[in-house]
Subunit: 355 residues, 2 copies
């Protein structure tokens, strides 16, 4: 295998370029076989690079004069800002000049650019964003958590198929279970999308479908692959953050209001912190946008160095295991199956008309 | 005002009839002006009643020979089991023999029965289930959290209007703010439903609309009335439960694994418990099904006595403040407005054709 080239958007995210460059260099120092491509304002990037020791022959800086802001309309930004780090990074992936692109910048621009610039794999209807979320058992892949706000049943089936490949090969889970987010365990429950998707998932031989998963059971680790539309996926991700944050505030406030609470609070501070670290959604790095002709990873907007480091490591594993090659094969098989089924249906119709 | 008659389903919920009868009697002892109507198997209900002291002239037991199970298909159950506590209770509300009905039984049966037996107020398209959820600031009304899985924009507008009346009069919030659940703060974000609903809410003079609310900000208390479809509402409710439960398990596990953690854990046990009590969704009683010709309240399936007691108290306040009368008036005004707007549009069309 030739050297893996990972392009990193040095300008994206709340803590860019400092935390981005720091994390990328930390990953390089752990995986010295990588080639790192940092995209952004060259002066700013080089100023950050000066702070670290690393193998200079494995770092390339690509100057980009433009930056896409978080609030810019994505389609407009992608078509106008040709010299932004996001457009340049995605273009490198499309041209085969980089194997993957990581950005903590505008989600909208990355989603639109991923499809428009990198392009979809054959047979893929809509690339979903999959995020690893923490559970009592470890983690689950929540897919889609950001790309397709209004989804169709057949898209969700593809999310389940691609998510299964990802968990099996990039995350080494032998037989990943798949559940669909629902409001109850029974098949007849749910909204129209879930009701239509449920039988398709059950009939899908490429996945290990275990049925409906209630939101309440997601943090406990109800399934390895949690399939849903991006609107619901976003709600789930954000509720993790919101409930945990508020609960900790409530606990802190109460502990401060009594002497035993204050004493106990001081004693548990350290163990509590380590517990919460385990339950931190960001430690798994970024969210891969699956189903593209190359790997595009969206890192959290508030990513610190460690998250960028993890995202780079994730990209390396993704390539070692040829996850995209496996997704490509599966999706091509599916497209072929559908083509044959359609042809057979057409022929059946034709013979019916003749008789 | 005549005596308020509250019908309670003694057979509904995981802890029925024990916890239900206990809670209802506790409410009666606090509000001795109520008339309590307990519906269920008479023997079982009377056996529970024997345990308590109360004013017997204020308790009526209505024997019902049937019980609707949690897993029964709702429409079927409502049409077949005429002598169940749910059908009998709802029928009493329709006939004016009871002012409200509380049940911790099958949500589906209560939702279907509420519409079919009690009936909608004039002008109400779809009655939503509204639940009070705990926040850092107190509580918010999450509406719809269970009734309409696939909603339309104009229904969400009615949820916002009815929710505003409820929070203003039943919960005494002077100028309730209204937010719509969304995946970002900007108006152009969201799924099709949110995008269509947003301008309608902004143009609605009866509510204090503050725009999009991200799921992350709900536990912090982002708005008094949180409008959404029932699928998303259910996700939000269940994520409260799931994240809090898992987080506490993770914290407990970590505290047990170190000596300072164990010591600290022992000290904080009591204050922690009281903090979590404040953050317990059930303490506000049940979820009202708004927009019906009488008050129907769904209590949580796992309701304990205290929750039933709170639900009964909630019904009392609802009637004291004539919340349903105010909702009725508002919805009739809205229907009249729409009728006039349609008529004007028709006349405009007609005069256009003539000229």
């Amino acid at each position: 295998m030739s050297m893996l080239r990972i392009a990193v958007d040095a300008m994206g995210g709340d803590l860019a370029p400092g935390a981005i460059v720091e994390g990328a260099i930390a990953a390089l120092n752990e995986h010295p076989e990588l080639m790192l491509i940092l995209l952004g304002k060259e002066d700013a990037v080089r100023a950050e690079l000066k702070k670290y020791k690393y193998d200079e022959s494995h770092v390339q800086v690509v100057h980009c004069s433009e930056v896409i802001g978080m609030a810019e309309p994505p389609v407009n930004a992608i078509s106008k800002k040709k010299d932004s780090s996001i457009v340049r990074g995605l273009t490198m992936v499309r041209k085969g000049e980089a194997d993957s692109f990581i950005s903590a910048g505008s989600t909208g621009a990355i989603l639109v650019g991923g499809q428009v610039i990198v392009g979809r794999l054959k047979g893929v209807d809509r690339p979903p964003l999959g995020a690893l979320i923490p559970t009592e058992k470890g983690f689950s892949l929540l897919i889609d958590c950001g790309a397709n706000m209004d989804a169709r049943p057949e898209w969700l089936v593809q999310f389940a198929q691609m998510g299964t490949v990802y968990m099996k090969h990039a995350m080494k889970i032998a037989d990943p279970t798949v559940g669909i987010v629902n409001v109850g365990a029974e098949e007849e429950k749910g909204n129209a999308l879930v009701k239509e998707t449920f039988p398709l998932l059950r009939a899908c031989p490429e996945i290990h479908f275990i049925g409906s998963v209630e939101a309440r059971d997601i943090p406990a680790g109800a399934a390895d692959v949690i399939v849903t539309d991006a609107f619901s996926g976003n709600l789930i991700m954000k509720m993790y953050e919101g409930v945990a944050g508020t609960l900790l505030k409530v606990i802190k406030g109460t502990l401060k209001s009594s002497v035993p609470g204050m004493l106990g609070g001081a004693l548990i501070k350290k163990p509590l912190k380590s517990a919460l670290k385990d339950f931190d959604a960001s430690r798994y790095g970024g969210a891969p946008l699956l189903g593209l002709k190359g790997l595009v990873v969206k890192a959290h907007g508030s990513s610190k160095a460690v998250e960028i480091k993890n995202a780079v490591a994730q990209c390396a594993l993704f390539y070692e295991e040829d996850v995209n090659g496996k997704i490509k094969l599966l999706m091509e098989e599916q497209a072929e199956k559908q083509r044959k089924a359609k042809k057979a249906a057409k022929e059946a119709d034709a013979s019916k008309e003749q008789s």
